[in-house]
């Protein structure tokens, strides 16, 4: 492209110049411009296809199955707590008073029966009424009963074990203290188990939710 000194161009130099035009990608030649455009359009075609392909698969995944319940929709005010067979629970004898024992409970579906999905699995624990300290929301406890989500906030296992009075997740050994708002005593979980505020129905003394869970269920952060 630079021909300001044509008289000094001998054969070898011309050859080198020609080679440079082919091999120097930085040099603005028609050939390089064509290559550049071809590369761009090729990348765009393949990239566009790849993105569509992957996003299609991903979107199909998110639409594939059941709608995931938000934590505010699992329990609402007045929903009964039931055991896995769908029996409602009497506050007087569901768990022995002050025993510190626990059981799995679920929200009652409309028309009866337990909503047995993982995110709805709830731990019901009963200590003595005075045992609870902050950050337990004590107005969400009743007659020594307290309820927490059973889904570990670490990697979503179910907090199925006990270690002494505490709750123990068998996957990575997070320990939650049920008398202190299920806050993390030790282990990797990033936050406490969400509490479910509960009360008793006036007419028949059955355990009911008095509102939704206090926070998102399972691993979110």
């Amino acid at each position: 492209m630079d021909d300001s000194e044509p008289e000094r161009t001998d054969d070898a130099q011309a050859g080198r110049q020609q080679r440079d035009e082919v091999y120097q990608p930085s040099k603005m030649t028609r050939r390089n411009a064509a290559k550049f455009l071809a590369a761009i359009s090729g990348t765009a075609a393949i990239g566009g296809f790849a993105v569509d392909y992957l996003m299609g698969l991903s979107a199909a995944g998110s639409q594939g199955g059941t709608k995931k319940l938000g934590y505010k929709d699992i329990y609402t005010k007045g929903v009964r707590l039931v055991d896995k067979d769908g029996n409602s629970l009497k506050a007087s004898d569901a768990l022995a008073a002050g025993s510190g024992k626990e059981m799995d409970v679920f929200p009652e579906k409309k028309g009866g029966g337990a909503l047995m999905v993982k995110d709805a699995t709830t731990l019901l624990v009963r200590f003595a009424e005075g045992d609870y300290q902050a950050p337990t929301k004590t107005d969400g406890t009743v007659k020594g009963y307290v309820a927490y989500s059973k889904v570990c906030t670490h990697e979503g296992c179910l907090v199925s074990g006990r270690q002494g009075e505490d709750l123990h997740c068998p996957c990575h050994n997070t320990i939650y203290d049920p008398r202190k708002g299920a806050k993390v005593v030790s282990g990797p979980a990033p936050r406490a188990l969400p509490q479910l505020p509960i009360g008793i129905s006036k007419s028949d003394e059955l355990l009911i939710a008095t509102g939704p869970f206090t926070g998102p269920i399972g691993p979110t952060e």
Binding site: A60, G61, G65, K118, E155, C157, G187
Partner: protein, 461 residues
């Protein structure tokens, strides 16, 4: 290709009509059948072959299982030999694994063989990689094959994860659940990745997730593995083996050690082919022995998946225990970063990047075609020993419940100690190895010029 002066033309098969027929069409007389396999004293060069044959056995046994397995979570009535579940409604996937294991002839044997082969596949790849590491066979020009090989190891882990999920028993469903949650912890891409890999929410959409994992396990991931193996072998043939000239060039007829432009070894056909056949039969025999006498993954004991409890003592197979260690050792927050991000994503990713990128960390400008003596590479050998004990310590930490039981204490009480040991022991071992090897090299009276680790390592003893 230029013919090497010491390569004797093999006339042995000229009498065979089959050979001549094939040779006319495929030009067998080319160098391929004579590809040199260098001798090595410890048979450690055969580890790659063990991994290769294990993959073949995985494909054969996997075909049997794949044809009989049913990737569905729909509850069906199990009617078979297992009294504990007879007449009960269990997920179809679980029922089909019960059928394979207890109701079909040879099913138990084939399933156990598949499971043991998976263990051997991962461990053979790991040991092969260690051989490559300690003999320095990853150095220029063989970095591409280290990249392919380490990708193979990681793809093997993905394949194992997908397969572990399929029986849909309570252990495997928990493992899938943890993998699903960990994927979700990846910043920005997490939700997309989760849907892409699992095809829905787990366990909520298990009906969609299980078939997807089945397809990934029996088609997509194995296809990737097969392709990578092909590329791995192509590069091996193209670049040739590294060679330990002390072992392979001991005879006076051999070319001089100074000439590393050729590889000296026994030919693929017939010598190495015979050895290879023995390796294959030994692998098959070992796996049969293990499968027949040592059953693994007892799906009856763990029971079908239960979305409301996680069984006590749950843990992954041994090859994922190091990831479990990262997950368990993290406190809730590290410098304000969530334990899930740092323990489940960042630290495993750094470990993997260090592994895959090692040839570019330990860079070599000149090309090397001989194996190194690990005793003469203090730095690299120290790193290797440290890395092994790091993975072992992480795995011990992954089993901290068992460790705590043995010590009559709780996991929470020993976690700080485990963190200190997981960081400290590898560093300590690395330093010991480094100083021991360095000082023994000096005592050996050998003049140690600059760059001794790179050049001196190439000749033997």
């Amino acid at each position: 290709m230029q013919r090497n002066p010491w390569e004797r033309r093999d006339q042995k098969y000229e009498g065979s009509r089959l050979y001549r027929w094939l040779d006319d069409r495929l030009n067998l007389e080319d160098t391929f059948l004579g590809k040199a396999f260098p001798e090595d004293r410890y048979s450690s060069f055969l580890l790659g072959e063990v991994a290769l044959f294990t993959f073949v056995i995985l494909a054969i046994t996997g075909t049997f299982l794949g044809l009989l397995y049913h990737p569905s979570v729909e509850k069906v009535k199990y009617t078979g030999n297992v009294a504990q579940f007879a007449g009960q409604k269990v997920p179809a996937a679980y029922a089909s694994v019960l059928h394979i294991t207890y109701d079909y002839p040879f099913g138990m044997f084939i399933r156990m063989m598949h499971h043991w082969a998976a263990y051997l596949f991962i461990s053979a790849m790991g040991l092969h990689m260690l051989r490559i590491f300690f003999t320095g066979a990853y150095r220029n020009p063989r970095e591409p094959n280290w990249l392919i090989g380490s990708t193979l190891l990681l793809t093997g882990l993905v394949e194992a994860f997908m397969g572990y999920a399929l029986p849909y028993d309570n252990f495997s469903a928990t493992a899938t659940n943890i993998g699903f949650a960990m994927t979700g912890a990846v910043p920005v891409l997490g939700p997309i990745l989760k849907n892409l890999v699992f095809g829905g929410d787990f366990p909520g959409d298990a009906a969609a997730v299980l078939p997807r994992m089945f397809f990934l396990h029996v088609f997509l991931v194995p296809a990737v593995i097969a392709g990578l193996i092909g590329a791995h072998l192509f590069l091996l043939i193209r670049q040739k083996h590294t060679e330990d000239p002390g072992a392979s060039r001991a005879s006076p007829e051999a070319p001089p050690k100074e000439d590393d432009s050729v590889v000296v070894g026994i030919p693929l056909v017939p010598n190495q082919a015979a050895i290879t056949m023995i390796v294959f039969l030994l692998v098959a025999a070992t796996l049969s022995f293990l499968a027949a006498l040592f059953p693994v993954q007892n799906v009856i004991a763990t029971g079908p998946t239960n979305t409301t409890t996680t069984p006590a003592g749950v843990g992954p197979d041994w090859y994922f225990m190091w990831v479990f260690g990262f997950l368990k050792l993290m406190p809730s927050k590290v410098f304000g970063i969530s334990s899930r991000l740092i323990g489940g994503v960042i630290l495993p990713t750094i470990t993997i990047l260090l592994l895959v990128g090692w040839p570019f960390i330990d860079r070599h400008v000149g090309q090397v075609h001989y194996t190194a003596n690990p005793l003469k590479r203090p730095k690299q050998t120290a790193v290797g020993v440290g890395a092994i004990s790091f993975i072992i310590m992480l795995s011990v930490a992954g089993m901290n419940s068992t460790v705590a039981d043995l010590l009559n204490t709780t996991p929470g009480a020993i976690n700080t100690w485990l963190i200190v040991l997981t960081v400290g022991i590898p560093i300590l071992e690395g330093l010991i190895v480094y100083y021991t090897l360095s000082s023994s090299m000096e005592k050996g009276g050998r003049p140690a010029p600059a760059g001794a680790a790179q050049t001196a390592g190439s000749d033997d003893d």
